[in-house]
């Protein structure tokens, strides 16, 4: 009956062309086009180095611009070690803060603490750098790294002599910088866990902690993992603060107390001084590696976080 009535209605006239829709759509394509352009331009400028060194570039250990020896391994190693070390430090704190912030009670206190944590993301990288270099580094050297290398120097990762600028301090600064990413996304994910699950757990007699540990966290696991990967992406690409505290030496040290180098910081340090054609191209290829890795990591993390929030909504 209703169907028949609808069918009897006259068909609406063809819509006039929506020029507003067309031009706003064109404008909105600027962002995706820029993204493609970044990959293409950086990639094409790295071509001379890609052609010259081939796949050996990624596994080369030597970095000697004077002899035109360019190997990316020390920088890849430094980037990976600092980032994962930073995550290892930031994850427990970030997850704890997220659990803390997702609780409904004492909303005002939690609100203030939440804003405080998010403000960490607002502080410019270079301010972390100067703080790390002039405040944290001397403090850690006297009270932490030097005693560490003196007492535990026989363990390879703490082998001395301790330097003021090293892997460990770069990782600590990075951990602080990725903390807001980690905790604010994890908090949203934890909040998205259906209340019925908590209620069921509490109704069975579980304490708050048992509910959190055995019910809420397992349900939020995939989202927290996504937040961690997103934080990893931030850590991999962080430049200035790391450049100021890592010591800038293209080595592959086993000790965390030795100076090292990362992909981003070698570009920051050497690009304006790079002469010839091969040297800048090699640095741009390092940049290409960085872009491709962070792109992959970010897309993975975003898909993960999105699928989790879609599940929670469904």
């Amino acid at each position: 009956m209703a169907v028949a009535e609808q069918a009897a209605l006259p068909r609406p006239a063809a819509r006039p062309p929506d020029s507003f829709r067309n031009w706003t759509t064109v404008v909105s394509l600027v962002a995706p086009l820029l993204l493609v352009a970044i990959v293409l331009v950086v990639g094409s400028n790295a071509l001379p180095a890609i052609r010259h060194f081939g796949a050996g570039f990624l596994t080369g250990r030597a970095w000697n611009p004077v002899k035109e020896q360019f190997g990316a391994l020390p920088f890849i190693y430094g980037t990976v070690v600092t980032s994962f070390l930073a995550l290892a430090m930031a994850l427990p704190v970030g997850a704890g803060v997220a659990i803390f912030l997702a609780e409904p009670s004492a909303a005002r206190v939690r609100g203030v603490i939440g804003v405080g944590v998010e403000l960490l993301a607002a502080i410019p990288s270079v301010v972390y750098g100067i703080w790390g270099l002039y405040v944290l580094a001397p403090f850690l050297l006297i009270h932490f790294t030097r005693p560490l290398s003196e007492h535990l120097g026989s363990i390879a990762v703490f082998a001395g002599p301790a330097r003021q600028t090293n892997f460990l301090i770069a990782a600590i600064v990075l951990a602080v910088m990725v903390l807001p990413t980690l905790s604010s996304i994890s908090r949203d994910v934890i909040k998205a866990v259906p209340g019925g699950m908590r209620e069921a757990s509490v109704a069975l007699g579980a304490t708050w902690w048992e509910t959190t540990w055995r019910v809420v966290l397992p349900a939020a696991r995939a989202g927290i993992f996504g937040a961690t990967i997103l934080a990893l992406g931030r850590a991999l690409g962080e430049t200035i603060a790391v450049t100021m505290v890592i010591g800038n030496r293209p080595d592959i040290p086993t000790s965390l107390l030795a100076p090292a180098y990362t992909l981003a910081s070698v570009i920051a340090n050497e690009f304006t001084e790079a002469t010839g054609s091969l040297y800048p191209a090699a640095l741009i290829e390092l940049g290409l590696v960085l872009v491709l890795v962070t792109l992959t990591v970010n897309i993975l993390a975003l898909l993960l976080v999105r699928s989790v929030s879609r599940e929670a909504r469904a």
């Binding site: 829709r21 706003t24 600027v30 950086v42 405080g116 944590v117 410019p124 048992e210 690009f271």
Partner: protein
């Protein structure tokens, strides 16, 4: 009974641990703030710090006026490029962004936020510095605009989406064209959110160092010509902090203090404004 007590104890310990992690998380914020204020204050209490340009080491009265001017010019130009494009894209995402194209734009923006700023510096260097054989403030503002764009798009989208659908429906029911509804009805209602989003992007751009290294390059003299190298506050912090001269390190701390005050004020103010808009939207 003992099992129960153990469970209660574990619960208590876990609660304490959560408070502890919150404390640990706030520790670096307070330490960075305290030290930047303490070390930067001696520099910024001289009026010459704001009125003079850099002077050779050893000559007193050095200032950062040139960096301030450079940062304002570059961030201003970047805003002129990024904010209109970003706001229009954000509106498009709300009005027509249901389909594949909208999803692609959203994903591109979210991914772009994660691209290392140093790589954006390389991109702009290859595009706008190498072909012209000179570093320039303009190329730096393009790099900053690339950084700002995704932030503006996503915050605009969020702010516009907060405007109640009833407003849009009322406009369409009165026979207004879609563009009129979007630009004259929805956008004005979302202005506080859009402005705070843009301000957040501006604050972020003002503090960026890495994309300026090989675009703006830095300049020791006062210059307002965006076709030539320009000085910037973050570049001053970066370069001066790494010198062995105490006077320059002092200047670096002063510039860092200005940067941190700038970004924190914008961030806190925008949070307050945003909360007000969300409350307003809830009332409607």
């Amino acid at each position: 009974m003992t099992l129960n007590r153990r469970r209660q104890l574990a619960n208590l310990l876990a609660r304490g641990a959560m408070w502890l992690t919150a404390g640990i998380a706030l520790l670096p914020l307070s330490l960075v703030l305290i030290y930047t204020v303490a070390k930067g204050l001696p520099a910024v209490t001289h009026i010459e710090f704001f009125t003079n340009v850099e002077r050779p080491v050893g000559i007193p009265g050095s200032g950062i006026a040139h960096a301030f001017v450079g940062t304002v010019i570059m961030v201003g130009l970047a805003s002129l490029m990024a904010i209109p494009v970003g706001v229009v894209s954000g509106i498009q995402l709300v009005e027509y962004g249901e389909g594949r194209v909208g999803d692609a734009v959203r994903l591109a923006c979210d991914v772009m936020v994660g691209i290392p700023s140093i790589a954006i510096g390389l991109f702009v260097y290859a595009l706008l510095v190498a072909p012209f054989h000179t570093f320039s403030g303009l190329s730096a503002s393009v790099a900053l605009a690339v950084l700002m764009l995704p932030v503006v798009v996503r915050t605009t989208e969020a702010a516009v989406a907060l405007v109640p659908d009833a407003l849009r429906e009322a406009g369409l029911a009165l026979g207004l064209a879609r563009w009129r509804v979007a630009l004259q009805l929805i956008l004005p209602a979302a202005v506080p959110g859009v402005v705070t989003g843009a301000l957040l992007a501006v604050a972020r751009a003002a503090g960026e160092t890495a994309p300026l290294l090989f675009t703006a390059f830095g300049n020791r003299f006062l210059s307002t010509n965006p076709a030539k190298p320009l000085a910037a506050l973050p570049l001053i912090v970066y370069h001066d902090a790494l010198t062995p001269y105490p006077e320059l390190v002092q200047t670096a701390w002063g510039a860092a203090l200005i940067l941190i005050v700038l970004t924190l004020v914008v961030n806190v103010a925008s949070r307050v404004a945003l909360r007000r808009q969300i409350r307003l939207a809830a009332k409607i």
